[in-house]
């Protein structure tokens, strides 16, 4: 149990916790650490890592690999939620993207053409959501509900009700390949994270998204093109979902319109919220969402590893949802601090306390 990789892992993690102790990401990281620690002690073999066939192999790698789908989706979802919206259709978009990919591959398109085709379709679906929300001004939950309901039907029509299998090596590589000993999905997530970071922080888009999500009207008065900002967020979410759809299809070398991306929207929303982005919009935390997705996947993988029936897995998930909600709620935190007074409340907490003060007199 106490080998070198092991100890170094915990040292790195502890350092991570230390350096993020004043940031929002501390909470999901801490939860992840607790869950991993639990597994370290009680689940034998959970931390085993070895080199097989030139790549790393172990449960931890599995978490990274399978968490990839939720991570990809949650990046787009983060931006949408930051604008104060939500995208319920990402699961359906995944199914459609997978279906388009498989159908194109079966019709002997080159793998790259197939991928571009699938991504284009998901961009279009994202644009459709964006149009409904930003263009017509429909409430996001409802606007994306439409595609959530109809999208899977569309995917089913594309596959004609079949599970479409493909064997193209390039397409299979997306979810099953390894780069530098790590699953290729990790590279994909890192690239998308970098792209998202560049897109939001390298340009003013991030500032605009946060300002629109925090106060839409004021942003518009300040000259921010809030419709465009929202539109972009939904298009980007569509793109991320499409990419996740490719990974999901590649993972099983086939397009399964029924099951691909089922509940992906809920997992992604959960990951984003765990990551510290508020469901009401405003400040967003891309890395937080990634950690949130990791936490969810670790939870699922823990179930498998501990031989807990997959059916009752939703119960611990539910408890995590509620716990995260409570952690984020100012009110709950106040109750909590009243119960356990301490000297140095974490930064996030003092922030909310001082924030509460001026609000009081605001009405006068």
């Amino acid at each position: 149990m106490f080998n070198i990789t092991h100890i170094s892992f915990w040292i790195v993690f502890a350092a991570l916790l230390f350096f993020t102790r004043k940031q929002r990401i501390l909470w999901p990281l801490l939860a992840l650490a607790l869950l991993l620690l639990f597994n370290d002690i009680f689940t034998p073999g959970f931390f085993n890592l070895e080199l097989r066939e030139g790549h790393l192999y172990g449960t931890l790698i599995d978490i990274l690999k399978h968490g990839g789908i939720v991570m990809l989706v949650s990046l787009g979802m983060t931006l949408v939620i930051a604008t104060g919206g939500v995208d319920l259709s990402v699961g359906a978009v995944m199914a459609v993207a997978g279906a388009v990919l498989a159908q194109a591959a079966i019709n002997h398109q080159s793998p790259f053409v197939a991928m571009i085709f699938a991504l284009l379709v998901s961009l279009v679906l994202g644009a459709w959501n964006g149009l409904l929300v930003a263009g017509i001004g429909i409430q996001p939950i409802v606007a994306t509900l439409i595609l959530m309901v109809a999208g899977r039907g569309v995917a089913q029509l594309i596959t004609e009700g079949q599970i479409l299998n493909f064997t193209d090596a390039t397409l299979v590589y997306i979810a099953n390949g390894y780069l530098l000993g790590m699953p290729f999905t990790c590279t994909l997530v890192l690239v998308l994270l970098a792209v998202t970071y560049a897109l939001t922080r390298g340009t003013a888009l991030g500032l605009f998204i946060e300002s629109v999500g925090d106060n839409d009207i004021a942003s518009r008065y300040a000259g921010v093109n809030s419709r465009f900002v929202k539109f972009i967020a939904y298009v980007f979410a569509g793109f991320c979902a499409g990419l996740a759809g490719l990974v999901a299809a590649s993972n099983i070398k086939s397009a399964d319109a029924n099951h691909a991306g089922l509940y992906a929207e809920l997992d992604a929303i959960l990951a984003v919220v765990i990551g510290g982005t508020a469901l009401t919009g405003g400040r967003f935390y891309l890395l937080g969402s990634i950690v949130g997705a990791l936490l969810i996947q670790t939870l699922t993988t823990t179930m498998y590893a501990r031989n807990v029936s997959a059916d009752i897995a939703p119960v611990p998930k539910a408890l995590v949802v509620i716990a995260v909600c409570l952690l984020q709620s100012d009110k709950a935190r106040r109750y909590f601090t009243r119960l356990f007074p301490r000297r140095n409340p974490p930064a996030a907490m003092t922030e909310t306390l001082t924030a509460a003060a001026p609000k009081v007199e605001a009405g006068s």
């Binding site: 003013a204 000259g223 605001a362």
Partner: protein, 511 residues
């Protein structure tokens, strides 16, 4: 008159980090209208919210009719006999007028609501206020003034002993105010105790019998209205010597002259149905044009169509003599027009972003999404405006929601100045901020004017308009009724125009 109805003794209430009320005493007698006065942050709102059960008190007692009460919700307060009408109409827009009057206390028989009885009661309540409204009408279809009257009717519907009016007049015109006063005088004569909160000094002297002044959460004193001169009242509210105030009031810039330049902005026959009747207006560089009029007279509406928030449906607009049409705030900003909106909280600040981000937002928006201001440039801008506008903050990364109202307003000014505008529209820039900050902002306006900016200045406070403007445009009932320039500007002259009978106002002389 010593027949006290409500007795509040030693009331304290604190919020994390703030002591909003400290041992305040407050007495209302039967059959009087009692003004509760104080600057923003004095604790008026908190006191009212404690009395109406919205907040729980930390210490102190409240007695109504010599009986100790402890309301924990507006509902309980109502049950005790305390009714409230709030500044913003707090009614349910989707329900009918009748239901709004009776909501929460609908007459029932065995748990079943008797709709007939509701209509009847609503009709009676409206009749008591001499209001002729169809009670089955949906509330959202009524004007704001009518809604405020419905709110009053609602407050009267219970057998209230004490009626609290929390700035009920801010959205009413003069005639409507008079209607309201008629009603509350009648209620007073019926023996009710009325607490009246307002910041319109005239109204205080018009209807109230007694004044209680609060400052910084503490009681300053209780006075008979007839025995407290206006100047004294202001002095007590702001905690300064009366002479000082007099000196402040007399501070005239004495700079009514304007460089003889071509106007930067000129609109002709510019208007929008339902917001503002077609008007002409021009502003020169280096000139402050005041827009005076009561709330709801069309001041904000004028600003909104100039800034492109609402689309005009007639008229023309010229910038530097060139005809333009502005269809959105973004288009206005591109033309170097800036606008600080009236409601800072809703239309101005981005509460959870830092001061730096709030300052660069408009400039960044005008540059577009793809050419981001470098962080160094952002810091430079933030530092510059924090210094120049003397924003009190630990640093540029502080969240704007943690600042006081006045400092928030300065940040918003900074946001617009960063875009280097040529015209800036200030809609009530001094609303809800303390006297010190007010003076600073007034001075800023004067400085900006000297730098050659064209400024459209909207304020409810006439003294402020008189002090800062070179020209004043007067609006009434969503119409331009007059314009004053240079030495003709005085509070008296403006008031005359605002109060002038309607027949005269038709003969408006264009300048």
């Amino acid at each position: 008159m010593s027949d006290s109805l409500l007795e509040v003794r030693g009331l304290s209430k604190s919020f994390p980090g703030v002591r909003a009320l400290q041992g305040v005493d407050f007495t209302v007698r039967r059959g009087e209208i009692h003004a509760l006065m104080g600057e923003n942050g004095a604790g008026k709102s908190t006191l009212i919210k404690v009395m109406t059960g919205v907040y729980e008190r930390d210490a102190g007692t409240t007695r109504l009719d010599a009986k100790e009460i402890f309301p924990r919700s507006p509902r309980e307060a109502e049950a005790c006999g305390i009714s409230t009408v709030y500044q913003e109409v707090n009614l349910i827009p989707h329900l009918s007028v009748a239901e709004n009057i009776c909501l929460g206390r609908q007459p029932t028989a065995f748990g079943k609501i008797r709709w007939g009885a509701i209509m009847q009661r609503a009709t009676q309540a409206l009749a008591r206020l001499d209001l002729d409204i169809d009670p089955s009408r949906q509330l959202s279809a009524c004007s704001i003034a009518i809604q405020q009257m419905v709110a009053l009717a609602r407050a009267m519907d219970v057998s209230a002993k004490l009626l609290i009016l929390d700035e009920p007049t801010s959205s009413l015109d003069e005639r409507e105010c008079e209607e309201l006063f008629k009603v509350i005088r009648k209620l007073r004569d019926e023996g009710m105790g009325i607490v009246f909160v307002t910041h319109f000094m005239d109204q205080v002297y018009a209807v109230t019998n007694r004044i209680t002044v609060l400052r910084n959460g503490q009681l300053v004193g209780e006075y008979l209205t007839s025995e407290l001169p206006r100047l004294e009242l202001v002095a007590r509210m702001i905690g300064k010597d009366a002479k000082e105030v007099a000196a402040m009031e007399s501070q005239q810039p004495g700079m009514r002259s304007v460089r003889d330049e071509k106007p930067f902005l000129e609109v002709r026959n510019f208007g929008r149905k339902g917001s503002i009747a077609p008007l002409d207006l021009s502003i020169r560089p280096g000139e402050v044009v005041g827009l005076a009029g009561l709330l709801g007279s069309g001041r904000t509406e004028t600003a909104r169509i100039i800034f492109g928030v609402d689309k005009p449906d007639c008229g023309e607009m010229f910038l530097d003599g060139e005809r333009v049409s502005i269809s959105s705030p973004r288009a206005a900003i591109r033309r170097r027009i800036a606008f600080t909106a009236e409601d800072r909280k809703i239309d101005g600040i981005i509460p959870n972003l830092s001061i730096r981000e709030n300052i660069v937002l408009a400039l960044q928006a005008s540059r577009g999404t793809w050419s981001k201001l470098s962080r160094a440039k952002q810091d430079e801008l933030a530092d510059k405006f924090i210094k120049a506008l003397r924003i009190k903050t630990p640093g540029p990364e502080q969240l704007i929601k943690n600042l006081s109202g006045g400092n928030q307003q300065k940040v918003l000014l900074g946001r617009w100045l960063a875009t280097e505008p040529r015209l800036i529209i200030l809609d009530e820039p001094t609303r809800g901020i303390d006297v010190g900050a007010k003076a600073e902002i007034e001075k800023l306006i004067t400085d900006l004017r000297r730098d050659g900016l064209a400024i459209l200045f909207i304020s409810s406070e006439l003294e402020e308009v008189v002090r800062t403007s070179q020209r004043v445009v007067i609006l009434r009932d969503r119409k331009k009724v007059g314009e004053l320039a240079g030495d003709a500007i005085s509070e008296h002259a403006i008031m005359n125009q605002i109060a002038a009978p309607t027949a005269e106002s038709k003969a408006v002389v264009d300048v």
